[in-house]
Symmetry: C2
């Protein structure tokens, strides 16, 4: 027989499941899993320190037996000298009131009760008895639903209880966000097989009240357990172990993918508010399709706080519109969200939200503070700084298109923004002093038609100095003779982060 004390102890240690010298609440139904869990944790605690507190919720679902189960757990705890809290829930009426399924209502009542006991006991950790067979079923269930790496992680050995509640909320939206809780749900038996647990119980004279494995599972999960997994074992006898391993590998890969997304997100996020997320279109398009998908999902998650009803087709449609769509193209995504290919942003927003332009737009003449910060409306502002030419950044001519450096002597002391006027011309940098019509320049530069009228032009003493975001006038360029430089930067007004 496998020495569960050793293997579970190792699993607990490697995954940092048990805090030392703190109270841990142990959810005990009276079935084999939770009896084995409690017995093992008592032996581990003797070595390692946490104080245990048993919690049992009487769901009131099994008529006479429910009360007997509760008494059994209370008596056992007393005889083992472990404090115990027994709670009572009327799951049937909860189901009637909430419209939840019986299983889901029971699960929510149970986790809610465990959280209450944890708070009352000053515990931050709640241990439950999910085993490797439960894990295999969970992985299989997610596989059959077409989940990617996220779902194929199955259950995690250690997870915030708040996350569980959010996950539940994704399904039903009836559980509050619960971010006030800082509770950890841990699963010390997650890599222990059900047969090992049963053997352990028999060996140690533990007599479970009933076969928990058949209780408290949904119809779908029951079919997986009793029909599909046995059928799959005829294809691969090791399937349950393999699925549990798949979960572990996927959990590791998920962390790697998440880190890669976080790093990419940092690079591509332009703005993130409660109603709209804007991703830098060029950077988003330059990243791999895997990160493009991940960023779209992240944007949806930030706007909706969940990914309920977001399926492969929704993400794929958004990704391909983003990759191939023309400026201004728009598509309804799902969950009340709309995607739009902006001039410099891939934009995902709540349906009906106002589309503020993703490039600066101005209504009329606007004097700039020199130096200083001038708000120009629509969420943009302009920062003018006075530099000595030796302060120029090394990469000053290859940086962001919305920053420019101008020879202050050539432009003069007074800077303003203005929209175009009929007959406007300028001498674009790189055209050897040739003058071109602004109208034609804008067409060649692919400025969208509806953005042309409000496009900001930076004007100095002698006319247009910068067609902002696009091209300097040759006469204001910084040269070796330049002594003082205006650095002009278009910035987003800060938006409070949504996360």
């Amino acid at each position: 027989m496998i020495d569960l004390l050793k293997t579970v102890g190792q699993y607990v240690r490697r995954n940092s499941l048990l805090p030392e010298a703190e109270t841990v609440v142990v959810g005990v139904s009276g079935g084999a899993d939770s009896l084995c869990l409690l017995h093992l944790l008592r032996r581990l605690a003797a070595e390692r320190g946490p104080h245990l507190h048993v919690a049992h919720l009487n769901h009131g679902l099994r008529a006479v037996d429910s009360d007997a189960d509760a008494r059994f757990v209370a008596d056992l705890s007393q005889s083992w000298g472990t404090p115990c809290s027994v709670g009572q829930a009327d799951v049937r009426s909860l189901t009637r009131d909430s419209g939840l399924s019986l299983e889901e209502a029971a699960r929510q009542a149970r986790y809610g009760f465990l959280a209450e006991v944890a708070k009352a006991q000053g515990a931050r950790t709640i241990a439950v008895g999910h085993n490797a067979d439960d894990q295999a079923e969970t992985v299989l269930m997610h596989f059959l639903r077409g989940s990617g790496v996220t779902g194929l992680r199955g259950m995690l050995p250690r997870t915030r209880l708040a996350d569980y509640r959010i996950a539940a909320a994704q399904q039903r939206e009836s559980v509050p966000d619960g971010t006030e809780t800082q509770l950890w749900l841990v699963r010390p038996l997650l890599n222990t097989r059900r047969v090992e647990i049963e053997a352990y119980c028999a060996h140690h004279g533990l007599w479970p009240r009933f076969d928990l494995s058949n209780e408290d599972v949904t119809f779908f999960r029951n079919r997986l357990r009793h029909e599909l997994l046995p059928a799959l074992e005829r294809y691969n006898p090791e399937i349950r172990n393999l699925l549990a391993h798949t979960a572990e590998v996927m959990a590791g890969d998920y962390e790697t993918l998440r880190s890669a997304l976080d790093a990419a997100w940092e690079q591509m996020i332009l703005a993130s508010g409660p109603d709209e997320v804007q991703l830098d279109l060029l950077r988003w398009r330059a990243s791999s399709i895997g990160l493009q998908r991940a960023a779209v999902r992240e944007a949806i998650y930030r706007l909706r706080r969940n990914l309920r009803n977001i399926n492969w087709e929704h993400v794929e449609r958004a990704v391909w519109l983003g990759r191939e769509g023309q400026t201004g193209q728009l598509a309804t995504l799902t969950a009340g969200l709309v995607l739009r290919v902006g001039y410099r942003a891939l934009r995902i927003a709540a349906e009906g939200a106002q589309w503020l332009p993703d490039v600066p737009q101005i209504a009329g003449l606007l004097a700039l503070r020199t130096p200083g910060v001038t708000s120009i409306g629509n969420g943009w502002r302009v920062v003018v700084q006075d530099l000595n030419s030796c302060e120029l950044p090394r990469d000053y001519d290859t940086a962001d298109a919305w920053v420019a450096w101008l020879d202050a002597a050539a432009v003069g002391p007074n800077l303003s923004l203005r929209p175009r006027r009929p007959g406007d011309r300028f001498q674009p940098q790189g055209l050897c002093g040739h003058s071109v019509a602004l109208h034609e320049f804008m067409i060649n530069a692919k400025v969208p038609r509806d953005a042309r009228a409000g496009w900001p032009l930076l004007a100095g003493e002698y006319g247009i100095a910068w067609v902002c975001g696009l091209r300097l006038d040759e006469r204001v360029m910084v040269s070796d003779a330049t002594r003082n430089v205006w650095q002009v930067t278009f910035e987003r007004e800060p938006i409070p982060p949504s996360r």
Copy 2:
């Protein structure tokens, strides 16, 4: 009916499957998939340009029918005005000679023939007719084998034929590496369902020679197709589509994971030769478990050129030994490989390979070139540079432990390395001038017992100046009064990269 010309055309374009103005070899068996493929590619080619060349291999497996199949494909090609090459293989005797299964021998013969035709025609692209149902089966098969993201990608829309041969070699080792070929295998129908292909054939009056879907599949795959997938459809009617989507998502995630591994590998690789890979132990330990696993797998792959027979347990054992093992601990991995926790490296090597120390070790007194480069043996060398104190790098005291900066006036002009001697003492930096026994210092610094005798000590005019890799003597530290500095660096002798 779905317009396959449009959907397949889009798939081809998005995945860059067809080169323009080149020849593409199309593998045509005469079944529905390949007839549909050829018909569609002819219509797409009319718009986009590649020249098609049909290739058919007569496996000689179906007695009379085989020859009739070959004639059918040849006649059809002629009537469509497409050039055609028909080959002949004696798969049965191939099976006898090689010990391959019939399916595997047939597959190898087929891909070998397709590659030959491609070379003869100057083509770089070979198109084959795998469809979305084949893909679903492949993903399911990998899932049942416990594959991670790599396997759950299923078949790729575009892959090097050399990669296919390597994959085959992983199974059987009887196919040469084939890196001389630069052939691409493309699968334009990979997101098209079998029922759509059959409907297309019927609509366009194409009469397949036989039901290809039942030919040329292994026993295991046949069971998946005819038993398991129909059973899974009772759990989720959309399962085949979902599995095909899973493959696409996983292919994207694989690229992200691969990029993350490449970046991490760059940071943690110390040495990579044909018989040993050394990873920086501290950096490897500081990375996430997902990257730790990926790096171990990569190391095994680099040493063995495949991951055959490498399963979850092997990788997991290696990872946990690397995470928790003491210096010097050693374990047999698998496939003739041994893992060892070195002093500064996690080392994976061929069984029986000589364990060169992963820290510098010296046999006796050794004068150093000042300035200059001195080889000290065992794959290490020492570089001494003469710096002015204002040339010191900004982070000079927080850098690599195997680089030191010493006050040249305090150390003197002659530097040498020597091993310890009985009674050695020095004044460790940070101990306010206290002198300690070198022997005790080494124990406290956890220098492994068998590395102590050969541990290099840098000696100057007044004795030990640097216990190399560990601690400077206080008297030679760079101070504000320092004018000239010896920069001493221990480096690996360059090893030719293995990849």
